[in-house]
Symmetry: C5
Subunit: 341 residues, 5 copies
Amino acid sequence: MTITYTLDVSTSKVSSFCKLLLRWRGSLWKSVYKELFLWLCGYTALSLVYRLALNPEQRIIFEDISVFAYRYTDFIPLTFILGFFVSLVIDRWWDMFSNIGWIDNAALYVSTYIQGSDDKVRIMRRQIIRFLVLTQAMVFRDISIRVRRRFPTLETVQAAGFMSKVELSILEEVATSKAKYWVPIQWAMLVVHDARRDGLIQSHQAVQDLLQRILEWRSGLSRLSHYDWVPIPLVYTQVVFLTVRCYFLICMMGRQYVNNTDRNLDYSSPIDLYVPVVTMVQFTFYIGWMKVAEALVNPFGEDDDDFEVNWLLDRNLQVGLQIVDNVASEKRPPLEKDFFW
Amino acid sequence: MTITYTLDVSTSKVSSFCKLLLRWRGSLWKSVYKELFLWLCGYTALSLVYRLALNPEQRIIFEDISVFAYRYTDFIPLTFILGFFVSLVIDRWWDMFSNIGWIDNAALYVSTYIQGSDDKVRIMRRQIIRFLVLTQAMVFRDISIRVRRRFPTLETVQAAGFMSKVELSILEEVATSKAKYWVPIQWAMLVVHDARRDGLIQSHQAVQDLLQRILEWRSGLSRLSHYDWVPIPLVYTQVVFLTVRCYFLICMMGRQYVNNTDRNLDYSSPIDLYVPVVTMVQFTFYIGWMKVAEALVNPFGEDDDDFEVNWLLDRNLQVGLQIVDNVASEKRPPLEKDFFW
Amino acid sequence: MTITYTLDVSTSKVSSFCKLLLRWRGSLWKSVYKELFLWLCGYTALSLVYRLALNPEQRIIFEDISVFAYRYTDFIPLTFILGFFVSLVIDRWWDMFSNIGWIDNAALYVSTYIQGSDDKVRIMRRQIIRFLVLTQAMVFRDISIRVRRRFPTLETVQAAGFMSKVELSILEEVATSKAKYWVPIQWAMLVVHDARRDGLIQSHQAVQDLLQRILEWRSGLSRLSHYDWVPIPLVYTQVVFLTVRCYFLICMMGRQYVNNTDRNLDYSSPIDLYVPVVTMVQFTFYIGWMKVAEALVNPFGEDDDDFEVNWLLDRNLQVGLQIVDNVASEKRPPLEKDFFW
Amino acid sequence: MTITYTLDVSTSKVSSFCKLLLRWRGSLWKSVYKELFLWLCGYTALSLVYRLALNPEQRIIFEDISVFAYRYTDFIPLTFILGFFVSLVIDRWWDMFSNIGWIDNAALYVSTYIQGSDDKVRIMRRQIIRFLVLTQAMVFRDISIRVRRRFPTLETVQAAGFMSKVELSILEEVATSKAKYWVPIQWAMLVVHDARRDGLIQSHQAVQDLLQRILEWRSGLSRLSHYDWVPIPLVYTQVVFLTVRCYFLICMMGRQYVNNTDRNLDYSSPIDLYVPVVTMVQFTFYIGWMKVAEALVNPFGEDDDDFEVNWLLDRNLQVGLQIVDNVASEKRPPLEKDFFW
Amino acid sequence: MTITYTLDVSTSKVSSFCKLLLRWRGSLWKSVYKELFLWLCGYTALSLVYRLALNPEQRIIFEDISVFAYRYTDFIPLTFILGFFVSLVIDRWWDMFSNIGWIDNAALYVSTYIQGSDDKVRIMRRQIIRFLVLTQAMVFRDISIRVRRRFPTLETVQAAGFMSKVELSILEEVATSKAKYWVPIQWAMLVVHDARRDGLIQSHQAVQDLLQRILEWRSGLSRLSHYDWVPIPLVYTQVVFLTVRCYFLICMMGRQYVNNTDRNLDYSSPIDLYVPVVTMVQFTFYIGWMKVAEALVNPFGEDDDDFEVNWLLDRNLQVGLQIVDNVASEKRPPLEKDFFW
């Protein structure tokens, strides 16, 4: 589920900052704590070995390795690559969200252009909406693990009311090895065509507008499936996720407090704090930043921050049908002078 | 309220720079002074402890910790993450502003395409405008704390003249657990449809154009509510706001003047200035930069720089009604030869 | 006035680089020399105090402060914030320029769709153009100090021929406390409506296209006034402009040549050059970069690089009227076979 | 073939990270291993020379060169230029993908607007689709080495069924030295024109919409060929690819373990690890990042991550024909009340 | 001429990298070699002075200056400003290229909507194309030095067949001090208007579409002339180009090998290589990067990478006329069943 915290940041005060920190779901703490714990275990193990198990000669080697690791972490510039990568991921994530598909535009146009309250015209209106949402369900099944789990087969989609049995059988008869997203879209367009032929739509312009709305719907969904099909190149994702972790693996050695012997080491800490405080802050910072990318790289997954696609499907079907049905009722504002007349 | 200072920077001179600095509302000073004061208190406390309360052995430990803190702050790269984050926030903020909704386009089209000065057609024109502004009020109630405070219930919206009592009751009858933003939009579209049916609109193209304007209005508002619903991922916001503050917490220790003893510390300042001048500049710089993000991350809140949404609602209703009414009057420029004929 | 230097850079040669450097108007030199001079005065004063006025003990303190300043300037990362800020300012500046409003599109459509050469139709064509340019003049008066100076009152706008006296009085009768930019736009739209009603425009499509052009014109201008009304948040501008100057204030102390005594200072320059050559280069570089932002943050001001809005107003009125009038003349290319037939 | 790994990253867990790493096709490992091996050979050779072949005086020279190389690599800032370059390449790559051309929109419009099931109208529908895909094949032949290999001549394109023999001969008769992409586009447009003339299309609006779809198709393809014709300036590509490799060439010397003699070298590693562990990590990191750019700079090539253009051509022809044929069949959802009635 | 190298990079292999390096036209080598040679001359001169001409005391001063220069170059952060500047330049360059104007869209629409093969209608079709290309020629004359050289006067444009003598005289009679780009555009629009009036165009929608295409053509060209008129602010260009060169001027001194005396200089190279190898790499890197910007800042100039505008003018005229003429011929694909029927 998307994590909304906008209300907490309505003013820029220290108190809103604190409220922001105290959240758990979708928070920094939740995403970082496991890996931080693992890292601390490794760090402690190494530290104990150094302090308790090694003899002086071995300690010298340990210290040399630590100094080596300390100095060479400089060569791995995390900040920069994370900055560029997170920017890229967020751009894609937001574009996906913008194309996720809300039925309102199409439903409002249908309800305005296809008037009438007899059964035939009501069915037509409802069919257009249903076919559009059905396409959405078909696309979502292929890109979202949650929707796939809810609808393992097309039969379950049918059972949920997105299509009738007849429609399902027609859909299955279409013989193609490629995706069939276009079939319900075509049905919707043909309903528009028929409505015009039967005089239920008043003008050619209305057809033009309705097809335009359906096209926009289709284009948004096809954009989603393209994002799913052509992700950020694997090399890039691997480079980023791997480098950040390698960095902290090296830090596990390089940030040890190794000033127990008499040698004067330029690069060691002047004091033995036992707990690597600053490195923990740094870890939280970098791993948290990376987690932003990890969570958003596939926003149709099951992270806290991912889109609630199942909810959206139900919402679209319900609201869409309601919008096109509402117009059949007689409950409309009367023509009367307003307050400011 | 938005802070306009464009006039002050009409030329790039030192004097305009000074004028810019002397502002208070929405300024750097106002956003930073509280946290800077808190930080200085902490810094002074630590400084006094070091100078007055500690014995030499404790001082050495203090100094070691200070040197440790001084050196390790290098590992926290604020600039970069702030740069990327502020860019992201500003992009979103400006896109929100661009979609905030000005009634002019819709009102001008309504006034051009739906001519006539009898009561019925005037009511129709005014209704379209009113329904659009009503949608805006409904959306703003859900995303802005200011508008929510002004209109705690739909009744108060009605009382303010955005809708009539009958309309409110119809609106409330619509049975749905989802947001009802689409209801007044549908009303507006149906008024357009009726006006065409009754011959008040001359052409199908006019209907097409009017629905297009209404659609743009709706899309802008729906974009706003999406921005509210899906903010920047919480992890990202937390990482940024937390890291900046952690950095200065560590600096509180690391930027102490600790050269009072005889030890030769490479990393300490060569001179004791008592006041951490440069760190204060740095604090103002980073915290100020971060405050840009904090204020803009929710521009519908109550910061100095946030959008004046209540003003906008009133403005839209007033100007919108005036535009569509103005066309009924007979006061229009006569057809006469101009100055350059 | 905009500074055009495109011709100088038509090839990438050393000579074109030199020609580029030798310009004065709108150049780096012109924007930097005053502040550089001020800074050099400060630097020289400090340098003279150190060399002539201080006794050895005071010199040591001076040197310590200088070393302190030298080292701590590292904490202020100018490059990064300037890079992001200048990017933002340039994006906004170019978007403003793109929306500044050229009458050609509207005028060409008017001249094509509204044919005829009798007085009435000529007046109509000219009125549409004039009303559009009038709106532009009204918007520019509010956002540009130059246009405001040329047209302190609406009467002066009228006197310049942008509207007739009757039009001015009608405009003034519109009772609103808000901006009246929409009034002439509405006039223009109503002329289109009347032309269609009187059969001067042949089709509904033509009305649609003409209104579209007028809408684009209005949207561009409204975008301009939004940019004026909601500038880059004040905090951001202050942070950037202040930090750059603070940096060089600290450098005034930190870049002194302080190796006159026998102390071995790691951070001082190995040689006394008297003139801070590299810091001057750095000053020119950073302040010049910042000046880009200072000049473009309000491109409707009075800097060398700002838009020539007064010229544009006159140009739009003249060219717009010429385009719509030209069509009335009989001077058009005859239908004859071309060179490549 | 495009590498899809979206499913692996549906949640942000350590296990999904591991699954991500274990891939081979299109992975970091596959792109880096060859060059890493070469680099290690060079490194080992130098190392052996130093350890076995040189006498003490030569060793000192070797060490000096190594220290020199170690220190001067700082002057080559890889991260930054790679960040900007990869951003640019990815933007272009994604824009290419977005314009690659899916026939669905055009086919759906054709099937809706051109109704009827007799042979003539079916041929017309199929011709439009075929001409569009033919254009795509012609463009792809010029920009993709894979398609060129599949279709070395236009005859092979004809043989694959994209056009008939007559069409090929007409195409070849068009006398021009420029690309002939426009010819099949014109054919498609003329079919639309003829269908309207013969009354198979009901309205002018339908013609408008169909031509619009064809235009979008053409614009996308022309954008692709522009990207092919005007790549990122050669200098930029050379600078980036060369610098990264130069950097590691210098590192081959600079990262040697040279502390075998008694000299105290500030810059050498405190311990001799024989294997340059951190540099290998760094190598994987930078070369991997650069490989992202190398693979995407021409996404119509033969890398693992490149677009499957041959598949797309076949898919477009097959699905396009199916869509327009499907409408001729009588298998359409009946008008019946839905589940939620 | 644009440098196309896409084929060379169709796979990401070491061999394609080598092929990339071996190019000369438009390459890094060609852009850098002259300035690198100049710089090496300066460097050698200084080096010889130091090694041969100076006595020991002078050498010490030389060395101090060298160390000073070495250390202070750190203050000039080239990478960052180059990154942002090159991004900006490339964005503008690509947008210019995208708006450069290809006649195909307009020609295809003209050929579809204006049917017929008698002389009058053929002339009309050809006139529209010719007027559009004429506008392009007029704009290009003002922004490209190459086109200006080919067409020093409007008479030469006429002589090349872009317009007839009558048209030229009408064009010259238009009395205005401003650019006359709009005149041929208006002619083209009026031809469309006349064709509709004479019944050669079947529908109002066709007029709408044709005017739209002409408008897009005009907007693209006007965008080009705006880019020419309002370049990147001069200050910015100067800052970037100057700083890069200043940096290497300082390096000329700072990268000398100055360890010939007995003094222990921390900052000098440990070994005397005579040739400043790494600095040469760095020079190639930075100057090459800068050359990207220098070449693209005015892509209508005469660099290797600049657009071939003369070729484009001829191509547009030739292809445009061919497209609209082709439709008059009877050579069109017959309606026959296709391969997959």
